[in-house]
């Protein structure tokens, strides 16, 4: 498939999503598919890795080379795919539980490695698939089946984690603002290095606090703030750490980002191997003389 003729619907599988009607993940996924098509990718050259959760089902509903893995481990898989074949466009998707709880360790390390993957986290501030327990981004007073009085602990700030780990592209979007969400994911795809897009993707079934209305009213769009410079680290730090507001847009982008595969000179497609031992293998034996 030549990428000029690719339409975003080419990234849609023939499986009908089983998400609850109104779930934020519909919008998140549409934006991802549009971003991939508009940046000139085709399903043949794209690899999507998804975690486990309602959000993780995205791997099933999108059409590309893809792997739907185990809970929390999508980022290492995406990293392995990208390093083995840097020609592939790699997108990794999952939920806030998947990414910031069970997979938190991998998150920090993927950021730090600056692997060239786009990581979209569908942040609904709850565990959807397991039917409504607190997630690492839930508010301290958010009552759930496992936290009847609220988690009583501060939520994880994913943007701050990414910043602390040396993130080179840190963004936040909102699934129902289709245009902005698509734009932000597009920029993430185009960024050379690890891009985090924390996407508010409301769970209409289990979360009645972090709702569409809440995000619509509270999110501040950075693209409308004249004096915001995403390349200014200190400004980004303030916006991320001292946030009394929640932002939408690209909070930080390192202009000098060098992705892992380039920094380590891993730029060949490793799928290609000779019919026998590679040239020069005999020298390996000689080393043991």
């Amino acid at each position: 498939m030549s990428s000029e003729n690719v339409r975003f619907t080419d990234f849609k599988s023939d499986k009908q999503p089983t998400w609850c009607p109104g779930c934020g993940d519909f919008g998140t996924m549409n934006g991802m598919m549009k971003a991939l098509a508009e940046t000139g990718n085709s399903p043949d050259d794209t690899f999507v890795v998804a975690g486990i959760g309602c959000s993780g089902k995205i791997g099933t509903y999108m059409r590309s080379y893809a792997l739907h893995g185990v809970h929390g481990r999508a980022l290492p898989v995406g990293t392995g795919v990208k390093l083995a074949n840097p020609d592939l466009e790699v997108m990794v998707a999952g939920g806030d539980g998947d990414g910031y709880s069970i997979g938190a360790g991998h998150f920090i390390h993927a950021v730090r490695r600056n692997v060239d993957v786009t990581y979209v986290v569908m942040d609904n501030r709850i565990y959807g698939l397991t039917k409504g327990q607190a997630s690492p981004t839930s508010r301290p007073d958010f009552e759930t089946s496992t936290t009847p009085e609220g988690p009583k602990q501060p939520p994880v700030n994913p943007l701050a984690l990414a910043m602390a780990a040396g993130g080179s592209f840190i963004a936040q979007s909102f699934s129902s603002d289709a245009m902005r969400h698509t734009e932000i994911v597009k920029e993430a795809v185009e960024h050379d290095g690890f891009s985090l897009v924390n996407t508010f993707s409301p769970c209409v079934t289990f979360n009645d606090v972090d709702t569409y209305d809440y995000f619509r009213d509270s999110l501040v769009d950075l693209s409308e703030e004249d004096d915001y410079d995403r390349h200014d680290y200190d400004q980004a730090k303030d916006a991320i750490l001292n946030a009394d507001k929640e932002y939408m847009g690209v909070l930080y982008q390192d202009e000098n980002s060098v992705p892992y595969h380039e920094a380590h000179g891993v730029t060949e497609n490793m799928a290609e191997i000779p019919d026998g031992a590679p040239d020069g293998a005999t020298d390996l034996v000689r080393e043991f003389y």
């Binding site: 498939m1 599988s13 499986k15 399903p43 043949d44 050259d45 690899f47 999507v48 890795v49 791997g59 099933t60 059409r63 590309s64 080379y65 893809a66 792997l67 739907h68 893995g69 185990v70 929390g72 481990r73 290492p76 898989v77 995406g78 990293t79 392995g80 795919v81 990208k82 390093l83 083995a84 074949n85 020609d87 592939l88 360790g105 991998h106 920090i108 390390h109 380590h264 000179g265 891993v266 060949e268 497609n269 490793m270 799928a271 191997i273 000779p274 019919d275 026998g276 031992a277 590679p278 020069g280 293998a281 005999t282 390996l284 034996v285 000689r286 043991f288 003389y289």
Partner: protein, 581 residues
């Protein structure tokens, strides 16, 4: 005079024991002598007893023995630790400035050579070279031309500059001269013959790493753990020369997922770990199998459970590899039986993984992984390496199907259980893989018929492999003997030698050494033909014996050792004798 010589250097961790041992082992192998080394190390970096033993002969050697001929004792404890192995012809080299010989509880007739190792080393340029002085002394005692050391020293210190190399050569010379001058009235009964042969000297971990590169592996991810780390250290810096890359992952969960990602992208990929790491990988192992991803997972076993005895020998993870994981998971388990087999079985593991699109466990035990052995270099003939990538399909094949109104089916139900495989980037082959039960197209399903069909399909690979592959065993000893001894892993080398001891007692034994744990050769006839059947393994419960019993529906006897120390040939012979009695 013995035709083989057993030498050791012992001291505290941090004394440079391993590198000194290695220098001597290499000098011997360059001089055309066979070498078998073993290490006794504790799980600490400084302090604590550690030793490096070298057994050398003009014939191939494959095990340790309970005899020490020449010992460099850097500490008193070295002698205490080895007291049972010393004999009346043993020579102990020590530094009287550091240790009093009278402190040694050495057997009366051993010869103690007080060599001022530190002082001579200082004369040569630095106290740090005292071990090299001792090596020079050993050359004199063993009548082994000291020139053989020179090349080893160049190899070891070459990149530190000419001066360092020269100083070390001088240190060795001073050690040799000291022994020649001061002890000229002492008769040594050792005389190490040299030959024109050129051998290579390597350990199991290195052989696995080399096998991986030979097999076209280009991606490795791992997390450091004894005794598997050497695989990663070997590949680092080497695999890059072949267009590959090593990632030190943040943990084993990541390591196996990184490797899985690379494998799905079409690379030959591997991870290596030891017991605790295998536990962590178990969840993803199921995903690898269900998504039918070719992956090689190396498990270098050590004493467990939990963190157990990380620097000690055991073959205790067989059950985990055979049965570990939730649900039912088809997998292959290969267990090389010697250092060179580590190389060959690694190559085979990659081929099997891709031919059958299945995870393959490759397992070595600690003894084999850290033991260095000499081989003829053509034992590792790179021209003989064959690569079989299995059913990888290209765009044309895919479009041919599509013209026939069929779709590309990554999990097509086939007669042999293996489906066509499209590597990402291949036009028309787009598909999703998942750990969820899926249909032929890879789409999630809970349809009862499809479930059964897919489970059967995945297990059918095992049957196909049984038909197509040669999952044979190795055999030695007396083919007609009534006594059958079955073993796996590194015990093979020790058994070869134990046969000599048994022979002395007129006990005939047939030995079968099994490198394929699953699928494995059918041992029914062999077991039925024997009067007595013993399974030898380094664990407490007899995990492989259980497997054999299950296969042959007959009770087999067990010889187990689980103290963390290698089987020794004479001890093993005695155990076998007792079990047969």
């Amino acid at each position: 005079m013995h035709d083989d010589l057993n030498w050791a250097i012992g001291g505290e961790a941090g004394d440079g024991i391993a590198s000194t041992g290695k220098i001597f082992a290499q000098a011997l192998s360059r001089a055309g002598r066979h070498v078998f080394t073993s290490k006794d190390f504790a799980s600490r970096i400084r302090g604590g007893y550690t030793a490096y033993k070298v057994r050398t002969s003009v014939d191939q050697v494959a095990s340790v023995v309970d005899r020490l001929d020449i010992l460099i004792a850097l500490t008193e404890r070295t002698v205490d630790e080895n007291i049972d192995e010393l004999h009346e012809d043993s020579v102990i080299i020590y530094d009287g400035d550091r240790t009093e010989f009278s402190d040694f509880e050495a057997p009366d007739d051993t010869t103690g050579l007080d060599v001022p190792l530190k002082a001579l080393a200082e004369d040569a340029g630095g106290a740090i070279m005292r071990n090299i002085v001792a090596l020079g002394a050993v050359c004199e005692v063993a009548d082994f031309p000291i020139e053989n050391l020179d090349e080893s020293l160049e190899k070891r210190f070459g990149d530190k500059g000419e001066k360092i190399v020269e100083n070390n050569k001088e240190a060795a010379r001073l050690g040799a001269e000291y022994v020649a001058d001061e002890f000229d009235d002492v008769e040594f009964s050792y005389e190490l013959e040299t030959t024109d042969e050129d051998y290579v000297l390597l350990n199991g971990d290195e052989a696995i790493g080399m096998g991986a590169i030979a097999a076209g592996c280009r991606f490795y991810a791992g997390y450091p753990i004894t005794p598997a780390t050497d695989v990663m250290e070997y590949l680092t810096g080497r695999i890059d020369q072949f267009g590959g890359h090593v990632v030190q992952a943040e943990d084993e969960l990541s390591a196996i997922n990184l490797a899985l990602g690379a494998a799905r992208a079409g690379a030959r990929a591997m991870t290596a770990t030891s017991g605790p790491g295998i536990d962590l990988m178990a969840e993803t192992f199921g995903l690898v199998a269900t998504s039918e991803t070719p992956l090689v997972i190396t498990n270098v076993m050590r004493s467990g459970p939990s963190t157990g005895m990380p620097t000690k020998q055991e073959q205790g993870d067989l059950n985990m590899m055979l049965y570990g994981g939730h649900g039912e998971i088809p997998r292959f388990v290969l267990a090389p039986t010697s250092v060179s087999e580590c190389f060959h079985k690694t190559v085979e593991a990659f081929n099997l993984a891709e031919k059958y699109q299945i995870p393959v466990y490759l397992t070595a035990d600690l003894s084999m992984a850290v033991t260095e052995r000499t081989y003829e270099p053509d034992e590792f003939d790179m021209d003989e390496v064959e690569i079989d990538r299995g059913k990888v399909v290209d765009e044309d094949e895919i479009s041919a199907w599509q013209n026939e109104k069929d779709q590309f089916k990554p999990h097509a139900v086939t007669a042999d259980g293996v489906s066509p495989r499209a590597l990402p980037g291949t036009e028309g082959g787009v598909h999703m893989s998942t750990g969820l039960e899926h249909d032929e197209l890879g789409r999630r399903t809970e349809d009862t018929d499809v479930r059964v069909e897919q489970v059967d399909k995945r297990y059918r690979k095992v049957d196909t492999a049984r038909e197509q592959e040669d999952f044979d065993y190795r055999e030695f000893g007396d083919a007609d003997a009534d006594n059958l001894v079955i073993s796996w892993g590194s015990n093979e080398g020790t058994l070869v030698e134990a046969l000599d001891y048994l022979d002395e007692d007129d006990i005939d034994v047939r030995v079968i050494s099994v490198p394929y744990i699953f699928p494995r050769p059918d041992l029914t006839e062999d077991v039925q033909a024997a009067d007595e059947v013993l399974v030898v393994e380094a664990n407490a419960t007899g995990q492989f014996a259980d497997v054999v019993e299950h296969d042959v529906l007959e009770r087999v006897e067990r010889v187990n050792k689980y103290d963390g120390v290698d089987f020794k040939a004479d001890e093993l012979a005695a155990d076998i004798k007792e079990a047969l009695a």
